[in-house]
Amino acid sequence: MTAEEWTAVRLSLLIATTATLFSLPVGIAIAWLLARGQFWGKSVLDTLVHLPLILPPVVTGYLLLLSFGRRGPIGSFLADEFGIVFSFRWTGAALACAIMGFPLMVRAIRLSIEAVDQRLEAAAGTLGAHPLWVFATITLPLCLPGIIAGAILGFAKSMGEFGATITFVSNIPGETQTLPSLIYTLTQVPGGDAAAMRLTLVSIAISMLALLGSELLAKRIGARRQTA
């Protein structure tokens, strides 16, 4: 593999990991709200969360460019106040990936929270546990397999994200050129087929490793639960 190809692989892993880690706490919070909350506007929030799944990725990317771009309302505010820049940076790619993977992540976590028996949570309350503590010691451990599944889904989606990323942060080698972007570039130039095939295999390998890793993790949690 060439240096350019390695860079793209490393960048993709960095972007996908960042996107997953940062969106996970938000994803858990939103999933909990949707699973257990009763508030006005819940269906609006539900729709908003699912929007990236339904919209064409290019549209999501363009909306990101409008709002988080240098001249966008959020983008200019973050750049001026905190020096955080998303447009045409790898951080922007991570943001795009996080948003594209978010519906999948939230859906998996939400389902697993809904599967947690609320009667157990009520029982923990009668033993004196504050609702936050009940969440940390009862709800969270019981829905951990769902959280892992959600994180893996988000990570896998980030590794493959293309449309929103290329629209928002373009395809700059070394900065925003992810694995899918590079494969796309290679298929557009004569003689790039061999390299594209190599990267395709790498992409498949990473996806399978992620899946395998999640299976092992889920098994270990299951085993710990047996001996705990």
Partner: protein, 353 residues
């Protein structure tokens, strides 16, 4: 400890309007399914917020809708044992037991430690096990222990034996008796089983269609509780065991009773529940009769139960006994309040309640 409840709560077509005060000891909420017993304990436990009313423990208001007081469940220090044990599946028995310990700091409530509770409930061999691997009876014992270790001021038990078979119930009842007598924590116990209430209760609160219809000591109240299967509760002591015939002889206020062999030491207090349909009356002391128990008493009252039957309430040296007779028998023997009679009870009709 005192528990005062006076609430009014509506859910759909069902209206719960109940008022009672629980004395120390075990207070049984007794009634048919759907009479509002579970809703009432859920209100005391803080799982349901009543539309209107007041709940107070030792004078401290937990709910007072007029003053806008609502103490959330986790700050009430009220233990709750559910019908389904609700053990946490991801924690070992030990960690289930200790779950409430962290929140139970500060004064008040029962003084209990893990060792004491484990001994009281006989669950020492289960500590490292997984809740899923326990039998139903073991689960309920652990659930009771878990509630106790949170140092509650009051323990609620919502039909804790309802999901168990007869053998498992018999396994747990002695532990609840010990809890009532030794741990000194007041218990509010929901049940629709006459046998359980007869055996465990100090005070009985009878509920019918969402309202409290009677409150009082178990000996006075239970005979009135169930028109279809009434009976009386007798407190007794084991005085000796008859090994030859596998009988136990009990000493009660009403007289000596011979019952099928009990697994209890001499001197142990026991309660027997005598169904009214198992009691015959005779005007003279019967002789040459197979029944072993003949108690003398006086008729207190005669209440028609159905058009063909009547419930006779007897005073046997201070203890209440109920007999269900046909109206024809009442007429033939010319039974009337004040009349001295002999109550005949077959020994085989005794069940350890």
């Amino acid at each position: 400890m005192s528990l005062d409840v006076d609430v009014d709560h509506r859910r759909g077509d069902f209206r719960l309007k109940a008022r009672f005060t629980a004395a120390p000891g075990l207070t049984a909420l007794f009634g048919r399914s759907g009479s509002g017993k579970t809703s009432l304990v859920s209100i005391v436990g803080g799982l349901i917020r009543p539309d209107r009313g007041r709940v107070a423990v030792d004078g401290q208001a937990l709910v007072d809708t007029e003053r806008g007081v609502f103490v959330p469940a986790h700050r009430r220090r009220i233990g709750y044992v559910f019908q389904d044990s609700r053990l946490f599946p991801h924690l070992s028995v030990r960690r289930n037991l200790l779950y409430g310990r962290w929140f139970a700091r500060g004064g008040g409530g029962a003084s209990v430690d893990l060792g004491g509770v484990v001994d009281l409930l006989g669950i020492g061999h289960l500590l490292e096990r997984d809740p899923d691997s326990l039998s139903g009876g073991e689960k309920q014992r652990v659930a009771i222990g878990r509630a106790l270790l949170a140092k509650p001021r009051l323990v609620l038990m919502d039909e804790p034996l309802a999901s168990l078979d007869e053998a498992r119930r018999a396994e747990i009842l002695p532990y609840i008796e010990r809890l009532r007598d030794e741990a000194g924590i007041p218990i509010l116990y929901v049940s629709h089983s006459v046998a359980e209430v007869a055996r465990l209760a100090t005070t009985v609160v009878i509920m019918t269609e969402g309202t409290v219809t009677a409150v009082g000591p178990v000996q006075d109240i239970l005979p009135l509780a169930d028109a279809t299967d009434g009976g009386a509760v007798l407190d007794a002591k084991v005085s000796r065991h008859d090994e030859t015939f596998h009988l136990s002889v009990l000493e009660s206020a009403a007289g000596e009773l011979q019952v099928p062999g009990l697994d209890a030491p001499v001197g142990a207090p026991v309660r027997v529940y005598i169904r009214s349909r198992d009691v015959m009356l005779s005007l003279q002391r019967p002789e040459h009769i197979s029944a072993l128990n003949v108690l003398s008493g006086k008729i207190v009252s005669i209440t028609p139960a159905t058009h063909a039957q009547a419930d006779i309430r007897l005073d046997c040296n201070g203890a209440v006994l109920m007999a269900r007779l046909t109206a024809k028998s009442v007429d033939r023997l010319a039974l009337a309040p004040g009349r001295a009679v002999y109550a005949v009870v077959k020994s085989v009709s005794f069940e350890r309640s």
